[in-house]
């Protein structure tokens, strides 16, 4: 039994790392623009599907991955420019519906381009399972974990150490003040969307060999990423990462010990509980609301 639990933990952390990356993307966009982007999962899907298509066209893996990430980042930038910017100042409900529309639109584009079947992606370094004290683990899981650690630390360093990252944070604290000290808020917003889309795309490419990908793969991933961001306290990038890992582990334990069919329900029951009892998230700051 302890061995089994260890196995569930290993699986859970792998899945959680993917949720963490999606949640991190959510937090970036939320920080910069106060918009919850329901199309975040679609960035993940686009990254994976574009990489699969480019690989199929004969590009080597590394080039395909880089090109897919850049293309997806471009899509994120366009989304901000064409759909979010014209609706600035709109109500929360309006922006939620705009991003849901964008998600459905991107799904539609993907189903037209690549059909409705689930497509495979070759593992980066083979499928020989690694034995680790009673649990087995695919080499791809190590790629996912390593990639997640690298991306999270890079994002963290970018936000805290670089001038550009600090400018981005300034926009989230107070856009007017940021504008006044000479930060171009519009450009920063586009940067946030591009970065977030790129992050999503890399998460999608890392996970694709394990999960495969299809035009609708982004729906659940996006929702889980959103959940991760909320569990961690929305707008707190590192909270989103912790929330993602927690959610992944919980889901894997639930799937293993209770029933795999109910794993999505278990994840959302947990999210509802967090919302009901700790609405600012487990790792968020308490915020007093102004009238």
């Amino acid at each position: 039994m302890p061995e089994q639990i260890f196995q569930f933990l290993v699986t859970g952390i792998t899945v959680g790392a993917i949720y963490a990356l999606v949640g991190l993307g959510f937090a970036l966009i939320y920080n910069a623009s106060d918009v919850v982007n329901f199309a975040q999962g679609e960035f993940v899907m686009l990254g994976a599907m574009t990489a699969i298509a480019l690989l199929g066209a004969g590009l080597p893996l590394v080039l395909a991955a880089i090109a897919a990430t850049l293309l997806t980042a471009l899509v994120g930038l366009l989304l901000e420019r064409c759909a979010i910017e014209p609706a600035r100042g709109a109500s929360v409900v309006t922006t939620i519906i705009i991003t849901i529309g964008a998600a459905i639109f991107l799904r539609g584009v993907a189903s037209l381009l690549w059909g409705k079947n689930s497509l495979p992606f070759p593992a980066f370094s083979g499928n020989e399972p690694i034995h680790l004290g009673g649990a087995t683990l695919l080499p791809q899981s190590l790629w996912v974990l390593g990639g997640a650690v690298l991306l999270v630390s890079l994002t963290r360093a970018f936000l805290n150490r670089t001038l550009l990252g600090k400018a981005l944070l300034a926009c989230s604290f107070n856009p007017v003040a940021a504008q006044l000290v000479g930060i171009n808020v519009k450009v920063m917003l586009r940067l946030a969307y591009g970065l977030s889309a790129g992050l999503g795309a890399i998460a999608g490419i890392l996970a694709a060999p394990i999960t495969f990908s299809s035009y609708e793969a982004g729906i659940m991933l996006g929702l889980k990423g959103f959940s991760a961001a909320i569990v961690g306290g929305i707008g707190n990038p590192m909270g989103a990462v912790a929330g993602g890992l927690l959610l992944g582990v919980l889901e894997a334990l639930g799937a293993g010990l209770i029933s795999s069919g109910y794993k999505d329900a278990i994840a959302f029951v947990f999210v509802l509980m967090v919302l009901f009892f700790e609405p600012t998230g487990l790792f968020g700051h308490k915020v007093a609301e102004r009238v």
Binding site: Y30, V36, A83, P86, A87, A90, S91, V92, V93, T94, I96, I97, I98, I100, G101, A102, A103, I104, F105, L106, R107, G108, V109, S111, L112, I219, L223, F226, S227, I230, I234, S259, G261, Y262, D264, A265, F268, V269, V271, L272, L275, F276, P279, V291
Partner: protein, 327 residues
């Protein structure tokens, strides 16, 4: 005057099948549109008037549908009793959920309602011994009302038309009642409403329960009319479509929601030819309406007409010589 729109709508609904009997768009598409109108009008009470988003409304629709399906096929309950049971279940769950869930705002509320919808959907798929799992439940007997069995498309059209008019009438009255005014106050400024002595939590709970009841009512009718239910009819995408209907027509207008429901039903019917492009068009439409006409098609257009009219009137007034009032 207040109900003039209602009577015009009612006459149109009654005349359609008389003018075009056996027309596919009237009897078949009309039934679907009618059910959508019930759902959208109910959701609009919550979204448009109380200003609370729900991304899980298909769950209540499903509760009505599955209550009717399970009780009539497994226990052979009469249809009306099963329908009442469905209303009771959906109403109770909405009432229990309302306080904790409606305390949340904005994105948190969106996430919570969405999560609730996903949980109910997973239950429909997984609780196979009750719901039949992903394959659904079939052989639901036709609805029997006081000895009259509803089993042809024409008969269904009349049943759903009456149900729809009932829901629209109820909603119009509710909006103009004390509760309706309280809700609008909650929507424009919740704290100010509280200061005025409105029990905002109670007002929000009431409207949440009413909109869940409308959805469950539609679900029961849907189950009998289709004689079949499956989880696909109550998925997250359906919840999103219901929100689309409300938003497309225009929030905070009962006829706006009804028009949005009819427009989206017709659009789906029209897009069947372009099946592959349906998702793409649906998404683009949603974005375009929200960016360019955030009040929705119906409300936006009526306001446009009204503004145009007052502009013409003011121009005409300007040409006439000004008569100073006799003092």
């Amino acid at each position: 005057m207040r109900l003039a729109g209602f009577f015009v709508f009612a006459v149109a609904v009654i005349l359609l099948p008389i003018l075009f009997p056996d027309n596919y768009f009237v009897t078949v598409v009309g039934i679907a549109a009618g059910l959508h109108v019930i759902l959208a009008v109910g959701l609009n009470l919550l979204m448009g008037y109380a200003g609370q988003i729900s991304l899980g409304h298909a769950a209540f629709f499903g509760m009505g549908g599955y209550a009717s399906a399970i009780l009539t096929t497994r226990w052979e309950w009469p249809g009306w009793l099963a329908m009442l049971a469905g209303l009771l279940v959906a109403g109770t769950i909405a009432w229990l959920l309302a306080r904790p869930i409606l305390r949340l705002r904005g994105h948190y509320l969106a996430m919570a309602t969405l999560g609730f919808g996903v949980i109910i959907h997973v239950l429909m798929v997984q609780a196979t011994e009750w719901t039949g799992g992903p394959d659904g439940l079939g052989n639901i007997p036709p609805l029997n009302l006081l000895g009259w069995t509803v089993d042809s498309d024409r008969q269904w059209y009349w049943v759903i038309a009456v149900a729809m008019l009932l829901v629209i009438g109820l909603s119009l009255n509710l909006v103009d009642s004390r509760i309706g005014r309280a809700l609008r106050a909650v929507r424009s400024a919740e704290l100010a409403a509280q200061m005025m002595g409105i029990d905002t939590a109670r007002a929000k709970t009431q409207v949440f329960v009413v909109s869940a009841l409308f959805a469950a009512f539609a679900g029961s009718l849907f189950a009998h009319q289709q004689a079949f239910v499956s989880p696909d009819s109550f998925s997250l995408m359906i919840s999103v479509e219901l929100v689309t209907m409300v938003v497309l027509g225009g929030m905070a207008s009962t006829f706006g929601a009804a028009c949005g429901a009819i427009a989206l039903t017709l659009l789906h019917e029209g897009l069947v030819v372009f099946e592959d492009y349906e998702m793409l068009i649906h998404g683009a439409l949603l974005m375009a309406v929200m960016i360019f006409l955030p009040q929705g098609l119906f409300v936006g257009l009526t306001q446009g007409v009204h503004r145009g009219w007052t502009w013409i009137a003011s121009r005409r007034g300007a040409k006439e010589p000004h008569h100073p009032a006799v003092s």
